[in-house]
Structure formats: structure tokens, C-alpha cells
């Protein structure tokens, strides 16, 4: 059982602040690090894995700093986003080299055991440059797990992996979390994170925007004001009906469209069809005008 702690950690490059005063603590189980591209996830990951010095603050694993501390890698398994450039090795040779670098007493057995865990025994004899993206990802995870680390850090592990392989990877990570390991993975896709992680940390523009279990984050994301564009057979009638609904904050007419600002997404979505039918209005179109993840994140930051 290991805990990774960031204490007011910041990192800047020149005058660009990549990570701004982030404090968080990551314990056993699967944690998702969620944020849009460019939010500083990779920088955070690099600091947590000892590959970047914090410009200010501290990053520690069980109380010991990770920067310039080679011994921490006995506890950490790292799956970088970087591609493997060891294309001339077979999967087995690559995992074995990792086992050897850890000076495992029985490196050969450890290699076979972990290849089995990631279900890569059969293709392990082939060269890495013949692998699909999902296979490479699994070999990288095998290499990171071969020394049985308490902490597993994965940077965008599902990027470019096909859906079936993604399911496999998720099952694997879930299992590792259930075993009591501290598993942290980063992603910019909400669905990925909420399917896998019990605990979610959200970063936006280098800042720690939200933290909590999946339900809390989901509520934060759905209970925010959302803008809808509606087109119906009678926009004016619908406007007056909607204005009376408690979830609606504002309604305005814009040409053929009705712009509706909604405070509570859940009840609005449930009640809208009934209200329309009740007043004999036909709905032609309903489209959220700011549903992009970026606007969700922007909301979380502004909150």
C-alpha cells in the first residue's frame, strides 16, 4: 500500500506555467487523472514518476521525494505515453530486460508470469515493431509490472487502442486496483475515466479543478448550466412554457431557434417531451450548443 502525494506542486517552463499549485494524494485503488489535452497531465505524470523536478512544492511517495531518487522505482511501475523505440527486440526480450534491470532473482519466471497476466504469451516471440498499438500497450504494462510494484502510473494508456483491447486493458487495471495497488492513469476522455476509476482528479489549465468519486464528478459535470438550441413548431409558446419550468434559467428567441439555458440538466431532459406534447408543440430539433468537454472543464474551473 503506497500513497503518492503532491504538496503545492507547481511546474513552469520559462514563463509558461504547466502545473499550478496542485495538491493531491493518490492512494490504493484506481484513480483517473482527467483533463483536456494540454491541461498538464503529462507534466504531472512526469513529476510523479520522478522525471521532472517540481519548480515549487513537493512530490513524495510514502514520504520520500521521487526526484533524483532512483530507489523509488522499486515501488513504481511507469507506462509512459512514449512509443517503444526498441523495435528490434521481441516482446519477451523487452520485458526480460526490464526484469533484469530490476535484478529480479528469477527474471525468466517473472517475465513469463507477467506476460501471462497481460495475455501476451503467444505473441511474445515476435519483434515489437510487428505489434499492434494495443499489443505494444500491453507489453509496456507488462514491463512496468514485472517487478510487482505497489504503484502503477500510466500516461494516456488507451490512446489509439481499439475498443476490444481497451476493454481488456480496463479489466486488467481494475484487477490491479482491487489487489490494493495504487493505479493512476491519465485520460482526456470522460467516458474512459468514469468506466474505470473509482476516484477522479480533474486538472484544467494546470490547475486542480475537482476531486472526488465518480458520482460527485459526474454530478458536477451534469448539474451545470447548459445551453440548448431548440427548434419547434411554435417557438413562442414553447418559450413561455419552458420559462415556467424550474430548471430553465433563461429563454431567448433567435430567428428560427429558441435558445434555452438550463440549470439542471436531468429534470429538463426528462420533462421537455411531456411539456411539448401537453401544449401541442412539435419538437424538430434539440441540440446542446456547448457540450464539448472543454466547456465542461471550463465550467469546473470557473466554479
Amino acid at each position: 500500500m503506497s500513497t503518492l502525494v503532491l504538496d503545492s506542486a507547481s511546474r513552469w517552463f520559462g514563463n509558461v506555467v504547466a502545473v499550478n499549485d496542485v495538491s493531491l494524494s493518490i492512494g490504493p485503488g484506481v484513480t483517473g487523472l482527467l483533463g483536456p489535452n494540454g491541461a498538464g497531465k503529462t507534466t504531472l505524470m512526469a513529476m510523479m514518476s520522478g522525471f521532472l523536478a517540481p519548480s515549487a512544492g513537493h512530490v513524495t511517495l510514502d514520504g520520500r521525494p521521487v526526484w533524483r531518487n532512483t530507489e523509488t522505482y522499486r515501488q513504481i511501475g511507469l507506462v509512459p505515453e512514449r512509443e517503444l523505440s526498441f523495435g528490434y527486440l521481441t516482446g519477451r526480450q523487452f520485458v526480460r530486460a526490464n526484469a533484469d534491470l530490476h535484478r529480479l532473482p528469477d527474471a525468466a519466471a517473472a517475465t513469463e508470469r507477467i506476460l501471462e497476466v497481460v495475455d501476451m504469451v503467444e505473441p511474445a516471440g515476435r519483434r515489437l515493431d510487428t505489434y499492434s498499438k494495443g499489443m505494444r500497450q500491453r507489453v509496456k504494462i507488462a514491463a512496468a509490472l514485472v517487478h510487482d510494484p505497489a504503484v502503477l502510473l500510466l500516461d494516456e494508456p488507451f490512446n489509439g487502442v481499439d475498443p476490444r483491447q481497451r476493454m481488456h486493458l480496463m479489466d486488467l487495471l481494475r484487477r490491479l486496483g482491487d489487489e490494493g495497488r495504487t493505479v493512476l492513469f491519465s485520460s482526456h476522455i470522460l467516458e474512459e475515466v468514469e468506466r474505470l476509476a473509482r476516484h477522479i482528479e480533474v486538472v484544467v489549465s494546470g490547475r486542480h479543478a475537482a476531486s472526488g468519486d465518480f458520482g460527485a464528478i459526474r454530478r458536477l459535470m451534469t448539474d451545470r448550466p447548459v445551453q440548448y438550441a431548440v427548434q419547434s413548431s411554435d417557438n413562442r409558446t414553447l418559450a413561455s412554457v419552458l420559462m415556467a419550468h424550474e430548471s430553465v434559467r433563461a429563454v431567448s428567441l433567435r430567428g428560427e431557434h429558441l435558445d434555452v439555458q438550463v440549470g439542471d440538466l436531468g429534470s429538463f431532459a426528462v420533462d421537455l417531451p411531456g411539456l411539448a406534447r401537453q401544449h401541442d408543440v412539435t419538437l424538430f430539433e434539440l441540440s446542446p450548443s456547448d457540450e464539448s468537454l472543454e466547456s465542461v472543464f471550463a465550467y469546473l474551473v470557473a466554479r
Binding site: T43, T70, R74, F86, A97, D100, L101, H102
Partner: protein, 232 residues
């Protein structure tokens, strides 16, 4: 020294296309010397060595070797796979240096010996070989250190060899005091006076040792602080 790192470095060296370039240098050098010996005589052919083989082929081979064992991994960041392990960083640097040194001696110093033997005088050949071993040792450590610092390691190393040692070294004799090639020659001079005597012997020995040790140590220290900056 870490056997796994050394093995991977050797695979990286042999597995890339650069390896053929590394192979081409000694083949061309020996071929040229053999040809001139056959057409003219050994004395004329020998001139190729102090003017081309020793001051150019040897450092170029060292640059290729040193940048092959470390450069690409640092450039594309895949060295994190080796560094996310509880492995002493100086051990990593020394292992990589040993591989680069081995390649420099095999593809740089040894061909100089063979070529020099073709031209006759075996004492002179031994002297030049000893000089090449000394210089190759220091070169490979220096170029490894440069590879650990900058993405433009090959260019920086080439500038050191071509502009500092060759161009300026020919113009100003004082540069011999700061030229790895000249230190090697000075040490070889002890064996055969066919080699020049550009600097103080004790100084040449100490300076060569210092560059080697500091170069390897510095490469290790840079690896300890290796930073992964995102593509973001």
C-alpha cells in the same frame, strides 16, 4: 557497469543503419592506405594516417558510436524505459560508454593499426595505435557527455573535431593543450618519435584521464536529472 544496459546499447548500435556507416570508415581507410602503398610506397601511404585517419576517421567513428548508444533514446524519450528502474545512473552512463569505447576501438583505433602496419614501420604503427586508443577513450567519453546534454550532439561534436581540433588546431599550436587528438599523439610519441611532441607528457596523460572520467560522470549526472517534457 550494468550488463543489461550494455547489451541493449550494443543491440541499439548494431540494429541501426548507422552501423554500416561505422563499418564503412575503417574499410575505406584501410583500402585507401593499401591502394597508395601499392601504387607509390609505404611512406607516402603513411601520410594518410596523421592527416586523415587519425584526426578525422577516429573522432568521426567515436561520434557515431557515442551518439548511437545514447542519442536516439534521449531524443525520443524512450530512455525512460531504462531509467524508470532502480539502476545507478552513473552505471548506465559507464555501460553505454564502454560500448561506445569498444566500437571506437574496433572501428577506429584498430583499423589505424592495421593501416599503419601496411605502410611498414611497426614501431610507428604501434605508437599511432597507442595514441588512437588514448584519444578514442577520451573522445568517446566526451561525445557521450555531449549526447546526454543536447539533441544536436552530432553537430556539436563535429564542430569540436572539425573546427576546434582540425581547423584552429592547425593554425594555432597552443590548441594542442586543449586537443584530445594531440594528447594521444604526445603519448604515442613516447614509443616512436615519428609522432609529434605537441605538449607535456604528464599533462597529456592527466588531461586524457580527466576528460574520460569527467565525461562519463557528467553523462551519468545528466541522466540522473533526465526530464521528460510532454508533447503538450
Amino acid at each position: 557497469m550494468n550488463a543489461t544496459i550494455a547489451k541493449l546499447a550494443l543491440q541499439a548500435l548494431l540494429g541501426r543503419r548507422r552501423f554500416f556507416l561505422l563499418l564503412a570508415f575503417p574499410v575505406l581507410l584501410i583500402g585507401l592506405v593499401a591502394l597508395v602503398t601499392a601504387l607509390l610506397d609505404g611512406e607516402a601511404a603513411y601520410e594518410v594516417l596523421p592527416n586523415l585517419g587519425y584526426p578525422l576517421v577516429l573522432p568521426l567513428v567515436a561520434i557515431l558510436a557515442a551518439s548511437s548508444v545514447l542519442g536516439p533514446e534521449v531524443d525520443d524519450g524512450s530512455i525512460v524505459y531504462l531509467l524508470s528502474k532502480p539502476v545507478n545512473r552513473y552505471g548506465v552512463a559507464i555501460s553505454k560508454w564502454v560500448v561506445a569505447l569498444g566500437a571506437t576501438l574496433v572501428a577506429g583505433a584498430l583499423p589505424i593499426l592495421v593501416a599503419a602496419l601496411i605502410t611498414g614501420d611497426s614501431t610507428r604503427a604501434t605508437a599511432l595505435f597507442v595514441g588512437a586508443v588514448v584519444a578514442g577513450t577520451a573522445y568517446s567519453a566526451l561525445f557521450l557527455a555531449i549526447s546526454a546534454v543536447t539533441r544536436h550532439a552530432v553537430i556539436a561534436s563535429l564542430m569540436f573535431v572539425l573546427i576546434w581540433e582540425s581547423l584552429l588546431g592547425n593554425l594555432f599550436s597552443g590548441i594542442a593543450w586543449l586537443s584530445i587528438g594531440q594528447w594521444g599523439l604526445r603519448i604515442g610519441h613516447e614509443i616512436s618519435s615519428a609522432l609529434p611532441d605537441p605538449a607535456n607528457l604528464g599533462y597529456a596523460i592527466v588531461a586524457s584521464l580527466l576528460v574520460t572520467v569527467v565525461g562519463a560522470w557528467f553523462a551519468g549526472d545528466r541522466l540522473r536529472s533526465f526530464s521528460l517534457t510532454g508533447d503538450e
